[in-house]
Symmetry: C2
Subunit: 411 residues, 2 copies
């Protein structure tokens, strides 16, 4: 055990990202392995919020739409996210929730494929991705069909009647990462447009949407971008698709919102993917998270994310099998995003017991324990320590208490 702590300390000593830990307001002692669900708070965020609230809202009032540039926040923050995901200027906006943006991306893609009728995804995709497709199908009155295929077979279902393929880049449960460029190219061979859900990717792994010729993508502001609880999401549309119609035609997506015209004319750029009035408080917090992320080298972030995961798996390897854990994430870091998951029939109770030991991860039904890897604020020692505490919990069976087995509203 000592050897692996030494290894961790040595990795920490040479970690080029270690200074970022001090940019986050995380309590000492806590090992936070849930940044893939809600990112930690950057230390600068409260001051930014205070400025937005006290100077912009209180003092500036309505004039801040111009004076504090609130009106351009969706585009401005989108342009800051662009380099993090390998997109170009003017291809990303921050707006609405990931679910709403999935709807927009799917319907926009459908508008470009009037002869095709199938929305394709994989079983086991994040539920909201399925649900938004099902909502479109229901509303289409039979015109649009939703089809789910097993993850390993989904590409076999590409055909000239598939309009859109919706896939999550890094799987929310297993952490399995898709080859974005290869999948996109394969789909495009069939004339299929691809919508990538980057919820578990943006800010965690290197992305090159432009180089991979991606059509559309959506992503989450509150996970690895550290934008705060329920932060607004983002939407990417390749410039070539800025003629597509996202259905949700709100006034902020109009070519001239403040002309108050009655006929909808979509903006001829990424802003057509906006809808209602942007939520400025959420935008402000997100912008701080994004700016912090922008200071990190994404190649280093990715490298560390892989190494954190490898180290955690190494720590688990010696004993976890004996305690009936099964690794459900790819062992190969090249196929794994930024979390490591194990299944265990008592996973829920174990995760509660871990929380009592100041290690926070999360649980996904029916039996998956997720450990999120956030390179900006986790150390290698954190990984070893977390695994050691989990082992101790197993060996002592301290997870086997009734209070750890009662499901809360949010697991």
């Amino acid at each position: 055990m000592d050897a692996i702590f030494d290894k961790a300390d040595s990795l920490d000593a040479s970690d080029p990202l270690r200074a970022f830990r001090d940019e986050f307001a995380l309590r000492d002692g806590l090992i936070y392995l849930d940044g893939n669900s809600l990112g930690a708070m950057p230390k600068r965020t409260p001051a930014r919020m205070d400025r937005t609230i006290q100077q912009e809202w209180r003092e500036g009032l309505i004039t801040s739409w111009n004076a504090a540039d609130w009106v351009n926040a969706p585009r401005r923050i989108g342009d800051k996210i662009a380099p993090i995901i390998g997109a170009g200027e003017g291809e990303v906006v921050v707006t609405d929730s990931t679910s709403i943006n999935i709807f927009k991306a799917l319907t926009a893609a459908l508008s470009l494929q009037p002869e095709r009728s199938i929305l394709l995804t994989e079983t086991t995709n994040f539920p909201t991705d399925h649900y938004m497709m099902q909502g479109i199908t229901a509303f289409s009155g039979g015109r649009i069909e939703t089809r789910s295929a097993a993850p390993e077979d989904v590409l076999d279902h590409l055909s000239d009647n598939v309009a859109v393929l919706l896939l999550t880049h890094v799987h929310y449960k297993t952490g399995r990462m898709r080859d974005m460029a290869a999948v996109t190219a394969k789909a495009q061979e069939h004339g299929v447009l691809v919508v990538w859900d980057l919820s578990h990717s943006a800010g965690a792994v290197e992305l090159a949407l432009g180089a991979a010729n991606v059509d559309f993508a959506v992503g989450c502001g509150y996970k690895f971008l550290n934008g705060g609880p329920g932060a607004p999401a983002f939407l990417y549309a390749a410039k070539r698709h800025h003629e597509a119609m996202p259905v949700l035609a709100g006034w902020f997506g109009h070519a001239r919102p403040f002309a108050f015209e009655e006929e909808y004319e979509a903006a001829d750029n990424i802003e057509r993917f906006l809808c209602g009035t942007p939520g400025i408080l959420g935008m402000a917090a997100l912008e701080e998270g994004v700016e912090l992320m922008l200071r990190a080298d994404m190649a280093e972030v990715r490298r560390k994310s892989a190494a954190l995961g490898d180290l955690f798996i190494e720590c688990m390897d010696g004993w976890a099998g004996d305690h009936s854990f099964t690794l459900v994430s790819p062992r190969d870091a090249g196929q794994r995003g930024s979390h490591v998951s194990y299944s265990h029939k008592d996973g829920y109770a174990m995760m509660q017991a871990l929380k009592a030991r100041d290690v926070i991860g999360d649980f996904r039904e029916p039996d998956v324990m997720r450990f999120g890897l956030t390179p900006l604020y986790l150390s290698y020692r954190d990984m070893v320590e977390a695994a050691a505490r989990l082992r101790s919990i197993c060996e002592s069976r301290e997870w086997d208490r009734p209070e750890y087995k009662e499901r809360a509203a949010v697991t």
Copy 2:
């Protein structure tokens, strides 16, 4: 002029709402007549935001979804808005933007009217209301038709092929207020469901959605509810319509969101109108605004709103005609919501000149100056003073400067 100031002071002295002014962080001297566009900041909001950010996000991290009850914020705040609009418990949720909620309400109403194909509204309605309808029509592939009729004729277009009537209760430009109960009843005689847009009503005028047998309604958090810039919006659906399908089927609207099932099964209550993960920072600020509003007697709010408008019109009456102003709001307070509008061909420049004199209202194309009446933080003296400054600006022609004529991005 002195007489009317005396009258104002006397009205202020007996104003039962006057203590509310001290609950808002408004700079002395400023006369803020734009609370119908962005409400002023309640003094308690910064402490609430600090708690949400520092205790709930920073300290509680992911556990705050349960521990700080984030997960129930949409429903909890909805239930607080309910008495302000005369709705019942479990009939209102806070979620998304007004535009998105218009889409949900319209499509939910359509789901209840499978035999009908027309969405009806009035010309001059707020643009986003038109646009959302047009988006639905475009996506429906011709199945759903959007029809706009002149405001005075719109009820003549009710027929047994109209599925939904979408009307704004208080008109964004003129302030004209519809008779909600009468219009709803008339529409229902034709089997038409009504969606009311309450953006300029909620928190400003008395509303009795239950008593008026309203089907659906949407409203805005950032105007009279003082929820902050781009605050989340709300959606009301009468209990009898909780079977309706709003198309935007996101995971927070599922019957069991944290079971992560792949088939969408809408919650059997108002929560089916939720979609993605709620934006907690925006929710927190809105909750403070709503709680403050809850302390006011809405009958008093309405009475004062009418009286503020009457007084302003009285101040304008003696001279404004000579300076080519035309009152575009109803003179009768019973038909007027909570703003008073005048048209003037140089209205834009005049509004800028007023801002330079510390009176903030706003302008709507092509020539409308809006003066918003917020009974919680405006005094009667404010109204007289604002009119006096406008008169002075006209008499001195100080609005006639090039810098006042340059349109900003947001007017």
